[in-house]
């Protein structure tokens, strides 16, 4: 079987039926559903603790009006965490390695924060395009720079997540290929490379969690400016 290094990033199909939607929905099956007991089992308690921690962490800097976003932001964080971590298992497809998927998440949410600001406080939103205390000769240039920086935000959000996860997965595949290739030739080098692979895997687990957090955190920061 000839496998290229990029086969892991191809959207999965089974007899012509695309499985991308399934790969997005199935991680939710791993999360225990809440039941009507007052004291639930350990897994449910752990899940509830995690969701409460995530919500408190994201919502503390935001004012009361922005707390309407709690559900969408917490569920986005949970979905990204689950997808990123499950993607580290061998032979699994990671939807967040697809730029199309990440742009589909980043662009509408960023646009929502922008339109919220323009609708509820238009003067303040437009006024923020010029930093306070700018010297007069620099004003037109700085307005253009701030506008560019504003418009590039959704692109940065999407590409950051895609690039981090794709690069990590590719590195893992390359180094594991090197380990297997070196094993019959130079076993000592192969062992050293395997140690590097082990450390890289730990790094990738951290990156998976951090990138999910950073994505949602940046959205809350953009929301903070606009609500």
């Amino acid at each position: 079987m000839n496998l290229s290094f990029f086969d892991q990033f191809m959207s999965p199909h089974l007899m012509g039926i695309p499985l991308t939607l399934l790969s997005l929905l199935l991680p939710t099956l791993l999360l225990p559903a809440p039941n009507n007991r007052w004291v639930t089992n350990r897994l449910s308690t752990l899940q509830l603790w995690l969701l409460n921690t995530i919500t408190k962490q994201l919502m503390t800097p935001l004012n009361k009006k922005a707390h309407k976003w709690a559900l969408i932001l917490t569920s986005l964080m949970t979905m990204l965490l689950a997808i990123n971590l499950l993607g580290l298992l061998p032979y699994t497809f990671t939807p967040t390695t697809q730029l199309s998927m990440n742009m589909a998440l980043a662009f509408p949410l960023w646009l929502a924060t922008l339109l919220t600001g323009l609708r509820n406080q238009p003067s303040i939103s437009i006024g923020h395009l010029l930093p306070e205390g700018t010297p007069t000769p620099l004003i037109p240039a700085l307005i253009l720079i701030e506008t560019t920086s504003l418009l590039i935000r959704p692109l940065a959000l999407g590409v950051r997540l895609t690039a981090n996860l794709t690069a990590g997965h590719l590195l893992i595949q390359l180094i594991s290929t090197a380990v297997m290739a070196l094993l019959p030739i130079m076993p000592v080098m192969s062992t050293l490379t395997a140690m590097i692979l082990f450390l890289l895997t730990i790094l990738e687990i951290a990156v998976a969690m951090i990138q999910a957090y950073v994505f949602v955190l940046l959205l809350t920061l953009y929301l903070q400016e606009n609500i």
Partner: protein
């Protein structure tokens, strides 16, 4: 980012009352003025009449 600017203690007169980089309305007006100038420039270059070059007769 979060929070409002402290431009309330500035006392501006004349042009600076409406266009300054300290109060939120001043900053907003500068931004709107910049966007309007760019829009005017684009409109001018799009709508200006194109010069017609006379036809050259081949000898």
């Amino acid at each position: 980012m979060a929070g409002h600017d402290s431009g309330s203690q500035h006392q501006f007169t004349g042009f600076q009352k409406y266009f300054n980089s300290y109060t939120i309305t001043g900053r907003r007006n500068y931004v709107i003025a910049t966007y309007t100038s760019i829009a005017m420039l684009i409109l001018y270059f799009k709508l200006r009449p194109k010069k017609k070059t006379p036809a050259v007769a081949d000898k």
